[in-house]
Amino acid sequence: MANARALDKRRKSVRNIRKITRTMELIATARFKKAMDRAAAATDYTARITQVVSDLAKSGLEVTHPLLESRDKVQNVRVLLLSANRGLCGGYNGSVLRSAFTQLESLGNQGFSITIDASGKRGISGLKFRGFDINDLWIEFDDQPLFEKVEEIANGYLELYVAGKIDRLEVVYTKFVNISRQVPVVETLLPLGELTSEDNRGEASDDEAPSMYEFLPNAESILKEIVPTSFKVKLFKCFLDAAVSEQIARMVAMKAATENASEIIKDLSMTYNRARQSQITGEIMEIIGGVNALKG
């Protein structure tokens, strides 16, 4: 039977670990709530932008813009990977990296020249481990990405795209579907494709009344400005989604870890009590044996 003292020591250390995982779970929960609020605000902004676009479309303006059209010949593809700075969040980093690898492989097979950017220490080290070169990397994005910072990155990409240095931008990140479902996805952000997202198109076609708006200075000028803006917001949304998903993943992982620790403590307690009991029994037997020997 195992040594009772060693068992007690192990139980203590498991208890300490449980304390840590419990705290991490609580922190992740608080951060998740904050990140979720920000995501909701961003959704509000996107919805309003979409509304303006659909009003523009209703005014009979042909929605065309260089950022919306895909290029005939695609040569340079930029891939941006969004991951976490820290681990201990279950399969979050692993699954986003895995989908990045498959995407990189398929892009490589198609003969594109690929440049990789990455955000998050885990993603960076994961890519480096597989021998990929990283062009640009960021580690300053945590649970609350700032729009200012994301805008800088977005402006950089817009510049490169307009200058013809990149023909396509793909973002690999974890999309937040709902609280119990987050999926790693690859999204093509440049060219933008359709401006009005699918969920809103149904609404727009419901009322076919011509737009009542006056456009200042004119519809074309607004369109020219709104397309880069929606790209920036879309990229920002990717960062926010990744942040929210990370916190959820950490929350779930830490909850499981805490539960596991409790289970282990229960098992260890039982073994410890048994060991203690058998130790006591053993000692009594020894004493009785000694007394009997003296009597005899």
Partner: protein, 133 residues
């Protein structure tokens, strides 16, 4: 004075959602005033001062371009960044202006980018000076 709702939204948060009695927007081709029952319009904003009156008091913000939509007595302002005037850094803006001046712009796209940075810096400097005097 009759009031209407003014909402200022950035991708991060809703900055303002209040009843205002008047509103002055920095539109792309000049300032535009909005009062109650203004006709519907969608306007492109530029860098500059957003001024509005709440309870007889005039307040202002610096906004970083974006769009304004006025419809049915609701004014919605969509912008990338909103700052209070005293949060502006005129020194940094001057540096940005200098840097933009020195930059080479040999294509229409780059030229537009440079003009944009200049306009942004100039608007910030102008606002800071206006408050300072």
């Amino acid at each position: 004075m009759a009031e209407f709702t003014c909402t200022v939204v950035t991708p991060e948060t809703t900055v303002l959602n209040e009843k205002v009695s008047s509103l002055v927007l920095p539109l792309f081709d000049g300032q535009a005033g909005v009062l109650n029952n203004h006709s519907s319009f969608i306007g492109r904003l530029t860098y500059g001062e957003l001024r509005f009156t709440v309870d007889g008091q005039e307040k202002s913000y610096y906004i970083d371009g974006g769009f304004a939509q006025v419809d049915n007595n609701v004014a919605t302002i969509l912008t990338g960044r909103v700052l209070k005037i005293d949060e502006l850094d005129s020194q940094k803006a001057k540096e940005q202006l200098e840097e933009a001046f020195g930059r080479k712009a040999n294509s229409p796209e780059l030229m537009e980018l440079r003009d944009r940075e200049m306009a942004q810096a100039r608007a910030q400097i102008r606002l800071v000076e206006k408050v300072g005097t």
